[in-house]
Subunit: 230 residues, 2 copies
């Protein structure tokens, strides 16, 4: 497999995908066209406008973008394209749309056969075993929380450390992930913004500017440095 799962598409003060340019060029080496999956975007901008945003980054590196929503047979489009990018938004909406159109398994099989995959935020969540560690609001009811399992763990994108100054009684991210572990024996990778997961063949590493926080059942959460094998 050849995949990149990023915490976020955009760093504070940066442009869309800019900080990942070199990584994306390596991921998609020799690829002329990438299929963009826009279904996480719940409104504000249309699938067309969202696809255009992605396309305007990719044209700078000589790659054409087609939006999955443009095709009459989405299954055929997934089977025929050489590479994929799923953008962020709402994970519930993305997972519902993929399952209801029978696309989750098709996508998984193509990626497992070696086609490169880029995900950001919600698009990274669906690379995990299930979507039960998303931060998103459950605005729609998906037929299942299962996702592609391209890596043998779950992700928490946009991982945020607790703010000790906050006078607020809502749960911290760490508390939420520990709650997940009371119900599920699945490792969770807390991926801070600026970090990403890279899988090349069987080797899975965590990359980027920060350390990464790992949560496992029966252990205290711990930090691993950039470049660590997962």
């Amino acid at each position: 497999m050849n995949i990149l799962l990023a915490s976020t598409s955009t760093l504070f003060g940066g442009n869309y995908l800019e900080y990942l340019t070199e990584e994306i060029q390596t991921l998609f080496q020799g690829i002329e066209e990438v299929l963009f999956i826009p279904f996480a975007r719940p409104g504000g901008i249309s699938h067309e406008a969202y696809t255009a945003t992605a396309a305007s980054f990719f044209q700078n590196i000589g790659i054409r973008i087609r939006g999955l929503h443009e095709f009459e047979s989405m299954t055929q489009a997934i089977n025929e394209t050489p590479a994929y990018f799923t953008g962020g938004g709402n994970t519930f909406l993305l997972v519902k749309t993929l399952h209801e159109n029978g696309l989750m398994t098709t996508l998984k099989q193509n990626i497992e056969s070696g086609k490169p995959y880029l995900g950001t935020s919600a698009g990274s969540n669906i690379g995990g075993i299930n979507m039960k560690t998303t931060n998103d609001m459950p605005i729609v009811y998906p037929p299942s929380f299962d996702t592609m399992g391209l890596v043998p763990f779950n992700l928490n994108p946009h991982y945020l450390d607790p703010d000790p100054t906050l006078k607020h009684n809502g749960e911290t991210r760490e508390t939420r992930i520990k709650e997940f572990l009371t119900q599920n024996d699945i490792k969770v990778v807390g991926l801070r913004e600026g970090n990403w997961i890279r899988r090349m063949g069987d080797r899975i590493t965590v990359e980027g500017e920060h350390s990464t926080r790992i949560f496992e059942q029966g252990k205290e959460p711990y930090e691993i440095p950039s470049g660590s094998v997962l």
Copy 2:
């Protein structure tokens, strides 16, 4: 109906339910025993310990607490008790447990017949039409997101205003609720900590120390003062 749906159980620096003491005494006037529903709590503390926490507040105001988990027939316990309190925790776990044990409808019918109900946080979420505006992590998969609909809108407990200093790319609460409105035509009450909803008969008001933010399809979000009729 006679219900109180609070944003949070505990204010910063305060004790459990303390700020609601007078309201709770009014709500449960003439009641000697309240059935406590502990199922939102995903771990850390057991159902017994959670029930004991609730009981230690209620004994100060002369009310006995029994935990729903103690009963062989939970349906019978719900039908026979004169009043209810559902505590906070994880809304997915609470809703899954209530649906899987066939208790959501039983509870709803008893409350609609006039028995007083207190909810905090996740316990307030289930008073809305559905749980699609919870802040919680989807750590388990409930058979449905539908809740009791004791009020004709949804709640967002622990409502938090955007922090303009945050250099983080995760969605704000307002963005998430606007995403909900792209998929659902249901009013959302953004309930800041320190605020609660009170229903007495057909009259529904919002109470507490702050104004309340209301979100509706096709309108800009707006604020209503404490005491407003919803």
